[in-house]
């Protein structure tokens, strides 16, 4: 059995990943390392933001099914505090240097493509439709982030060191992508959600292949953050998210319902 509350929560997870990562990528606007990358980051962010709007709009409709006033995509984006956000810890991590940004993007993109691919088979037609649209965009994203991982990893001594350090630092946030809690389990059993745990071997093999080409070492697994049902998917975030939201939400919170 799965209820509307679980579906709402799952849609927030999908939408918040895109929203938060899009905001992070937007922070590069005007200061990308080269103009082409400035444009690329923004374009990837734009795709993710568009996807987030589709997920959050659907979440608001599901919320309304239980007789509550369903929130709009804007209300969900601008009027929730960090504890109500359901994104992965990985995507809220700060931009750091460009290797940090690329590592975060690559680890996410590889997972995102697999997840969306599975979601195209969802019994929920709306989810399947959004996923079919989004997966085409995600495939393009992963090509670019893979190219960059190889370029920086198999680049100069400095770029290699930074790329490896970025991966080492972010690795502990990757386990959460494959952790299935009760909410997801119920939706997986109902044929609605993707079984994230089943994606892990495919993700590991893709990551391993790219790291080999990039002369990078796959970090040794140690403690994985957020895997014991106390992570981003449950609203327990790193401190970075609330700082990011403070910036993202400042205008709509200062001028609620402003129109222009």
């Amino acid at each position: 059995m799965c209820g509307n509350g679980q579906l709402f929560d799952y849609l927030l997870r999908l939408g918040d990943n895109g929203l938060v990562l899009a905001q992070r990528l937007g922070e590069w606007v005007g200061k990308g390392p080269v103009l082409e990358e400035d444009i690329a980051s923004t374009n990837v962010g734009l795709d993710l933001l568009g996807q987030a709007r589709l997920w959050l709009a659907y979440a608001g409709e599901i919320e309304a099914r239980d007789g509550k006033p369903g929130r709009s995509e804007d209300q969900l984006a601008y009027q929730r505090d960090s504890a109500s956000y359901r994104n992965l810890l990985l995507v809220e991590q700060p931009n750091g240097n460009y290797a940090d940004t690329i590592a975060r993007q690559f680890l996410f993109d590889q997972w995102h493509v697999l997840l969306l691919g599975q979601l195209t088979l969802s019994q929920d037609e709306r989810i399947a439709g959004i996923a079919a649209k989004a997966v085409k965009e995600a495939r393009y994203h992963v090509e670019r982030s893979t190219d960059w991982v190889v370029r920086l990893g198999d680049g100069t001594e400095l770029s290699h060191a930074r790329m490896q350090a970025a991966i080492d630092a972010l690795w502990m946030y990757t386990g959460e992508m494959f952790a299935v809690d009760a909410t997801e389990r119920a939706l997986v059993d109902a044929g609605i959600a993707a079984d994230a745990a089943a994606l892990e071997p495919h993700w590991r093999s893709a990551v391993q292949g790219t790291f080999d080409e990039a002369t990078l070492a796959v970090p040794t697994d140690s403690w994985m953050q957020g895997t014991r049902e106390r992570g981003g998917k449950q609203g327990v975030h790193t401190e970075h998210l609330s700082h990011m939201l403070a910036v993202m939400q400042s205008l709509p919170r200062a001028h609620p319902n402003a129109q222009w």
């Binding site: 795709d47 993710l48 649209k133 085409k136 190219d147």
Partner: protein
């Protein structure tokens, strides 16, 4: 209920209200006058994003499918379609969004492809991948990609400058023969 052959070739169903062929054609003409604000050489019909036009409960209902999820032109296009229909037939129109099936560049009409090329934008699928085994290494880095024919001189000696261009749907290329930089409408 009756089936009407729409301009895009897809059969759509109008409601029981009487709609004359002339009226429907006038509405389609109005929609066909709307151009993509970011690529103003092709109409939204040529772009293949208009899925159906129906008459529902006294108003026109136009269904469009977005190109990219975050394409900022979508809202403008919806407004422009409503305005064009109001100006042409003096009636209200509602623009609906259909995500599935997802839009693909295969839906761009042949005349749309020709107009893109004439505007200096290499249309999607203008690659050598199927006929000539030419690949090009991107100027910066990355794995080889199918060569894209230069819209200016037709040369296949072109290279990708950047994965993303002036809009979400394009990448930047440069021709090694005529030296023109150009946009490539990515196959999607």
């Amino acid at each position: 209920m009756r089936h009407v052959e729409t301009l895009s070739g897809a059969a759509s169903v109008t409601d029981r209200m009487h709609v004359s062929e002339q009226e429907l054609a006038a509405v389609w003409r109005a929609i066909a006058s709307v151009v993509d604000p970011e690529i103003p050489v092709v109409s939204v019909v040529e772009l293949g994003i208009v899925r159906s036009v129906e008459r529902v409960a006294g108003a026109w209902e136009v269904t469009v499918t977005p190109t990219y999820s975050g394409c900022p032109a979508t809202r403008v296009i919806e407004d422009d379609i409503r305005t064009a229909i109001a100006a042409a037939v003096g009636e209200r129109a509602q623009v609906m969004t259909a995500l599935a099936p997802a839009w693909t560049t295969d839906w761009i009409a042949p005349e749309g492809l020709a107009k893109l090329r004439a505007a200096g934008i290499a249309p999607p699928g203008a690659t050598a991948s199927h006929d000539v085994p030419v690949t090009t290494r991107a100027v910066t880095f990355g794995r080889p990609r199918p060569a894209v024919a230069c819209p200016n001189c037709g040369s296949l000696r072109t290279a990708e400058l950047a994965r993303f261009g002036s809009t979400a749907c394009k990448a930047q290329y440069r021709c090694a023969d005529c030296l023109e930089p150009f946009d490539y409408f990515k196959p999607h």
